[in-house]
Amino acid sequence: MTAITHHIPDAMLAAYSAGSLPHHFAVAVASHVSLCPTCRVTLEAHQSVGGALLDATDGVAVSDGMKADLLAQLDAPAPNIAQYTRQGIYPRPVVEALKGQEPKWKTLGMGVRQSILSESKQGSVRLLYIPGGQAVPDHGHNGIEMTLVLQGSFSDETGQFDVGDIEIANEDLDHTPIADEGEPCICLAATDAPLRFNAFMPRLLQPIFRI
């Protein structure tokens, strides 16, 4: 595997650590950090700042009996919450969004497929499957789009993106990502808003495919 060369900006890692990123971007950041030791270290540095602030906070006395209540719970079995871990090319946050299942792919035409992981008014997260040599339709963005490569690679006007690389595009970037020749490229894409496709047909199809 080639070294990861496209990372997450520091401000975004700080926001992720503090919990102020919207859910769709938090999925992308947590997925990238799962693959990228460099960003993990940066994230841990932010956690250290948070920890230093916590440690320097003036305490507020807790209720009597809280500690006793807590001690009484220590031996109780932990609630049985499903703990997901990496499966194949999919890091934990993706596996969690898939609830441990395989992606349910929907065809978008030209061999391109997508699997929507979550969608809300704030934004959406999906997996994209692009055959080698195939372009993702020309599109711009409303807001920010984060694209993390999980398999294969793609290239666009800004460079080449291999496994673990993340492209963060804002609305100024009108780009045409093309999956490199070879195995299909599978990406995690998190967007603030629906993508705007520039070609006529895909725009018409947007409501149908929810892309």
């Binding site: 900006p9 520091d10 401000a11 975004m12 700080a14 926001a15 650590s17 503090a18 919990g19 102020s20 990123l21 859910h23 971007f25 938090a26 999925v27 947590a30 997925s31 950090v33 799962s34 030791p37 460099t38 993990r40 270290v41 940066t42 994230l43 841990e44 540095a45 932010h46 956690q47 250290s48 700042v49 948070g50 920890g51 230093a52 602030l53 916590l54 440690d55 320097a56 906070t57 003036d58 305490g59 507020v60 006395a61 807790v62 209720s63 809280m66 500690k67 209540d69 807590l70 001690l71 719970q73 220590l74 932990a78 871990t85 990496r86 890091p91 934990r92 946050p93 969690e96 969004a97």
Partner: protein, 197 residues
């Protein structure tokens, strides 16, 4: 469980006196399920956590519920604590932010795959100390900030600034960080220092 058993009877360091008591407590919880150490950790962190969470506008009652969940998670997930990478306060900070978001937004916060410690690796006291020393310097740097600068940093790490606001705030301790946590801390400290000028 295997991870914890593996460590049993293996003293973390002969220089225990130099490692902070928080870390010593946390390792006793992790390796020996030590309740007295848990009580000590609770006495140190529970009031701070409550104060920290209440600063976001949470009621005392809700803050206490979150503190309770956080401390229970500290006990249950103790095996994931790795003093070579993080000091106790950093680890608890992240647990607290995660829990707070889960409660307030009623959503399950996505977290990265855990980094497993190399099985059978010997604890490296000098690395643990290096992490702690850098954290200590960072704390010092924070305490010497101008009040308004400190307030911005606190807001950012309490989750009260958006990503865009953090990006546009000049002087936040941000930038590229090197491949080791202590280098990262060292640099953050330098940036904080730079803010005072």
């Amino acid at each position: 469980m295997a991870a914890m058993r593996r460590r049993e009877g293996k003293p973390v360091s002969q220089k225990k006196t130099e490692i902070s008591e928080q870390t010593v407590w946390m390792l006793a919880i992790r390796d020996n399920r030590d309740r007295a150490a848990f009580c000590a950790l609770f006495d140190h962190f529970a009031p701070r956590l409550k104060g920290f969470i209440m600063r976001t506008g949470c009621s005392a009652h809700q803050a206490e519920e979150i503190v309770q969940d956080v401390m229970l998670t500290v006990w249950r997930k103790a095996a994931m604590f790795d003093p070579h990478r993080a000091q106790v306060s950093a680890w608890i900070y992240q647990i607290a932010r995660n829990r707070h978001i889960d409660v307030v937004r009623k959503e399950n916060r996505p977290v990265p795959d855990e980094l497993a410690e190399d099985p059978g690796s010997e604890p490296d006291a000098s690395q643990i100390l290096a992490v702690e020393q850098e954290a200590g310097k960072l704390k010092q740097a924070l305490s010497s900030l101008k009040p308004e600068q400190r307030e911005i940093i606190e807001k950012a790490y309490l989750g009260e600034l958006t990503h865009q606001e953090i990006s546009t705030q000049t002087g936040l301790p941000l930038g590229t960080i090197k491949s080791r946590i202590r280098l990262g801390l060292e640099r953050l400290r330098h940036e904080l220092k730079g803010m005072r000028e």
